[in-house]
Each structure stands twice: as C-alpha cells, then as structure tokens.
C-alpha cells in the first residue's frame, strides 16, 4: 500500500503540475499579447489625444487637425448599417429558429454560414459594383450597406441560437392558451430571448466598427464633416489606414491616437454588452 503512495502518485503529480503550467503559460501568452497591444496603443496614442483632436476635422500636415469628422462618420455608418442589418438579421434568425424547417431552412442556414465566411473586402467590391457604380459616386449609404451585409449573418445566427435556448415548453404553454404562432413568437419567444439577441446585435456592431476593407470602395473617406448620406463619408478605420500609410510623423501620431479612440469605442460597446447580459429577468 505504501508503495502506491510514492512512485505512481509522484508521476501523476508531476504530470498534473506540467499540464497546469502549460495551460497557464498559454493563457499568459495570449492575455499578455492583448495587454501589450492595448498598452502600446495607449502609450503611442495618448500623446496626440486632446479635445481639439476629438472635435476638429483633418488639416494639412503641420496644422494639427483632428478626427471629429471620422468619429461622426463612423457613428453615422454604424447607424445606417444597424438600421438595415439588425431588423433583417433578426428576422432571418427568427425564420431559422421558428419557421424554417426542412430543406429550405437548411439551405438558408448554409447560405448564412457562407456569408459569414466571405472576406469583407469582397463585400466591399460587391457593394461597389451594385451601388457605387450605378450611382457614380461613393456614399455613406453604400458604406452602410456594405457593413450591414457583414452584420446580417452574424446577427441572424446569434439570434437563432438565442431563440433556440428558449425552452420549448414556453412555446407549448402559449400555444395551449390558443395563441397563433406569430403571437407566440413575438409575444413570448422573442421577449424571452431579448437580452441574448441584444448581445448578438452589440457584438455585431462591435465587429463592424473595426472593419476597414469594405469601406475603401464604398464610403471612401472624407476630410470634411458629413453633410449628406449621398456623399463619401469619413470613418475612423479608413482615417487610420490613410494616416498610417502616409510618410508624415505627425499623421502617424494621429493614427495612433485615432486607434486609441477606436479601441475605446469598441471596448465601450463590449462593456455595455457585458452589462446587458448580466441583467436577467
């Protein structure tokens, strides 16, 4: 008995300690990288960050200027894309979870999954072909549509998953009271899944707020505050891209600061998501 208490046990403990250390190291590596990225952006960006920078529009090199128009532009683009993408995505999610059974439902689900995997630059080129070319100019609307196309599959699938988490017994309970299917969906199932659907929507917004590629051919970018949805519009991501590839140190510094603003924006959205998911009925 005493023998088993020494040798075998020692090997098992060594194994356990090794695996614990390994998983710990992997975690440290991943989280460490994230912290280094965040820290570097903050360190590089904080220097150029001031109120003037947040509200002014871009100026020629040496004259300062800011990213106020890009912040406004990004918010406008998020609004347009949410206006198209959220209702459509949620409706598709409801269809997939509640109505679409059999082959058509399966086909729709496959298409939605495929859409999720399409590189965002392809979406940009597609919207360029169907909106920018016929209208003959870049526009905020085209940018919003491109972002919406990225949103729809994400929102649809998260909505579907959230609706599937609603216990079947709730649907039966409502049906047994004489509720027609559409009232069961709108009155019971969707409200029960609302916090989860909101989370999915927020995550989709966080995701597209970091997109650059689909905006290059659609919203294009602008050095002025937006006046109309039919004109090119600035966005934080494209602004960062343009400044980062410029040869000027001042613009590089501004790109860092704009990155910090963007990161804060996405972080803020994620914190809101966490807050919403914590609240449960």
């Amino acid at each position: 008995m005493a023998a088993s208490f020494t040798n075998v046990d020692r090997i098992r403990r060594a194994n356990s300690a090794f695996m614990t250390t390994l998983t710990g190291l992997c975690t440290l590596l991943t989280v460490g990288a994230l912290i280094i990225i965040l820290g570097h952006i903050a360190w590089q960006g904080i220097g150029s960050l001031n109120l003037q920078f947040l509200i002014d529009r871009p100026r020629p090199v040496g004259e300062g200027g800011g990213i106020g128009n890009a912040i406004v532009g990004s918010l406008v683009l998020l609004l347009i894309s949410s206006a198209f993408g959220l209702p459509l995505g949620i409706c598709v999610g409801i269809y997939l979870s509640e109505i679409g059974r059999g082959r058509l439902g399966g086909a729709v689900r496959f298409i939605v999954d495929t859409l999720t995997g399409i590189p965002s630059i392809v979406t940009g080129v597609f919207v360029y072909a169907i909106i920018v070319v016929p209208t003959k100019h870049f526009s905020a609307l085209a940018g919003g549509v491109a972002l919406a196309m990225i949103m729809i599959p994400i929102v649809a699938r998260t909505t579907e998953e959230m609706l599937k988490l609603v216990p079947h017994s709730l649907r039966e309970g409502a049906l047994a009271l004489g509720a027609p299917q559409w009232r069961v969906i709108l009155g019971v199932v969707v409200p029960a899944a609302a916090p989860g659907i909101a989370t999915g929507a927020m995550l989709a917004i966080a995701r597209i707020s970091g997109e650059t590629a689909p905006l290059l051919f659609t919203a294009f970018g602008s050095r002025f505050f937006p006046e109309s949805l039919n004109q090119p519009i600035a966005s934080l991501t494209v602004q960062i891209y343009n400044y980062a590839i410029s040869p000027y140190d001042e613009w590089h510094a501004q790109a860092w600061a704009a990155t910090l603003v963007l990161m804060t924006l996405v972080l803020g959205i994620n914190i809101i998501v966490r807050f919403l998911t914590r609240k449960k009925f």
């Binding site: 039966e172 309970g173 047994a176 009271l177 004489g178 027609p180 009925f281």
Partner: protein, 281 residues
C-alpha cells in the same frame, strides 16, 4: 424491517378502503364531453397509440395511469392537438368534443385550444410578471373589453387556482420569482383564466413536494365542479385520490377504463391488477 412492510401494506389497504368524498359519476348519467373512437397515432413510422376508444363524461376527473412510455401523455396531447407542433406526426380515428370532430378539416385549432386548456408537467411560466402571465390568454383571445374586466378575470383565475392570497401584493413581480409549486399553480391559473371547458393536466405535480402536491390535488377536486379534467399521473395514489374514473394504458393501448374505485379494488383485467399491485412498471 418486516413490521415496516406490513405497516405499509396496512396503510395502503386503508388508503384504498377510505370512503371517497364523492361518489364516482356514472358514465350513463352524465353527458359525454370527450369521445374518442379508434384513435391511432404515429410519430413518423412508429405507432404510439393503437385503436384507443374512450368516453370522458362532463365534469369529472379522469385519470390516465400506466408505465413510462405507454402513450398516456401522447394521448392527452391529441385531445387539444398539441402534437400538431411536432413534425412528422399523424393521427387516425376520431376525437369528438361535444360531438364535433376536432381533427375534421377546417377545425380552428386556436379555438380548440381555448376550449381545451392544458397544464404541463414542468411549470412553464412566461418570463413576464405574474399578472401578465395570467392575462396572456385573455389578451391574445381578446376576451375582455376593459382593463378593470381584465383585472377581475385575472384575480378570479388566481383565486380559482388558490394562489391569490400568496401573490396579490406582488402581481407586478416576475413569475420566475415564485416557488415551484406556486409556478405550477400560476400555470393552472393561466389556463383557467380563459375558462376552458376541458382541462388537460400532464403530470401536474410530478416535480413538486408533497405539500405543493396536496394543494394541487385539492385544487383539482374543487375544479371539477366547473371543468372536465383529464389528468395524466405516474402516481397511482394520486389517481386514486383525485379521480372519478381511471384509464390504464400499456404499450400504446388502452387496457381498461372504469370507475377509479373499481380499477383499484377489483380490476377486470389481469394486467391492470399486476401494474397496480406493483408487479411491473
């Protein structure tokens, strides 16, 4: 050990010989509320029910007993066409409620479910307030014309379900804050609010403690003055306590149906006796 067992047997014998509070209603004297003729039921290719024929008189409690998987819940769910929501199911034969075949083409399932209410095994309150849960059926069926009438009906339903005194001061709080037994009585109140003619109960007390169970049983006893009640139960003592008539199911077939007293004291079929005395099941 031996004395314990003898005691238990004596208790059981006493239990069955206790005079019942009300005489069982004779089929011949009461109007038939539900009549089922040669009902077959299929889940895809699997036949779950074979040639079931049974008559349920008005304003009695009918209990369905039998081992797990014998089809008693499936049969209960054919009475308000709740199985319609399961894909791939098929029904043969007739279910007549007040001499109207509910599987006849053109039957309004929504109206049927208003007349034949259902309480499920697991309580399934909607994630809404207590008031809104009970008001749900009234609202979707547009039963009431004014807010005060709605409040009156909700209060009455909660009183009928013996829950009013416990919840009257917190009607606006979440139904999910109630205890398990209260939630089940809330579901009964929700079903009663639209005043169905028949109330189907699928093992309504199986997940409840003895005290909550006895409350539900007392409630069933009160409710049969107004409603025809069909209850599925695993618990034979419960069937003996609450029902006037009992039907015994086995492997998708109706083996025997008779006055509860007869079933539990002098069953006419050997299989019923074997089940009731605990030789199998």
């Amino acid at each position: 050990m031996n004395t314990d067992l003898t005691d238990l047997k004596t208790i059981n014998a006493d239990f069955y010989s206790v005079p019942r509070p009300s005489a069982p209603v004779e089929t011949s004297s009461a109007k038939t509320k539900v009549a089922v003729r040669d009902l077959d039921f299929f889940y895809g290719r699997v036949q779950a029910l074979h040639q079931i024929s049974i008559e349920i008189p008005e304003r009695i409690v009918m209990a369905f007993i039998g081992p797990s998987g014998c089809g008693k819940s499936t049969f209960l769910r054919t009475l308000n066409r709740m199985n319609d929501v399961i894909p791939g199911t098929r029904v043969g034969g007739e279910v007549l409620i007040d001499d109207h075949d509910i599987y006849a083409p053109g039957t309004d399932v929504v109206d049927l479910r208003r007349r034949v209410g259902m309480v499920f095994q697991k309580s399934n309150p909607f994630p809404k307030s207590i008031f809104d849960n009970v008001a749900y059926g009234l609202r979707i069926n547009r039963v009431t014309s004014s807010g005060s009438e709605l409040e009156g009906r909700v209060e009455q339903a909660l009183k009928d379900a013996a829950l009013w005194s416990e919840v009257k001061d917190r009607l606006k709080t979440s139904a999910l804050s109630l205890s398990g037994g209260q939630q089940q009585r809330l579901c009964i109140a929700r079903a009663l609010a639209i005043r169905p003619e028949v109330l189907l109960m699928d093992e309504p007390a199986s997940a409840l403690d003895p005290i909550a169970t006895s409350k539900i049983e007392e409630l069933i006893f009160d409710l049969k003055k107004q409603y025809t009640i069909v209850i599925v139960t695993h618990n034979m003592q419960q069937a003996a306590r609450v029902s006037d008539r009992t039907a015994f199911f086995l492997l998708g077939k109706l083996i025997e149906v008779n006055a509860t007293e007869k079933i539990f004291t002098a069953p006419s079929v050997k299989t019923t006796e074997d089940y009731i005395t605990g030789r199998f099941g």
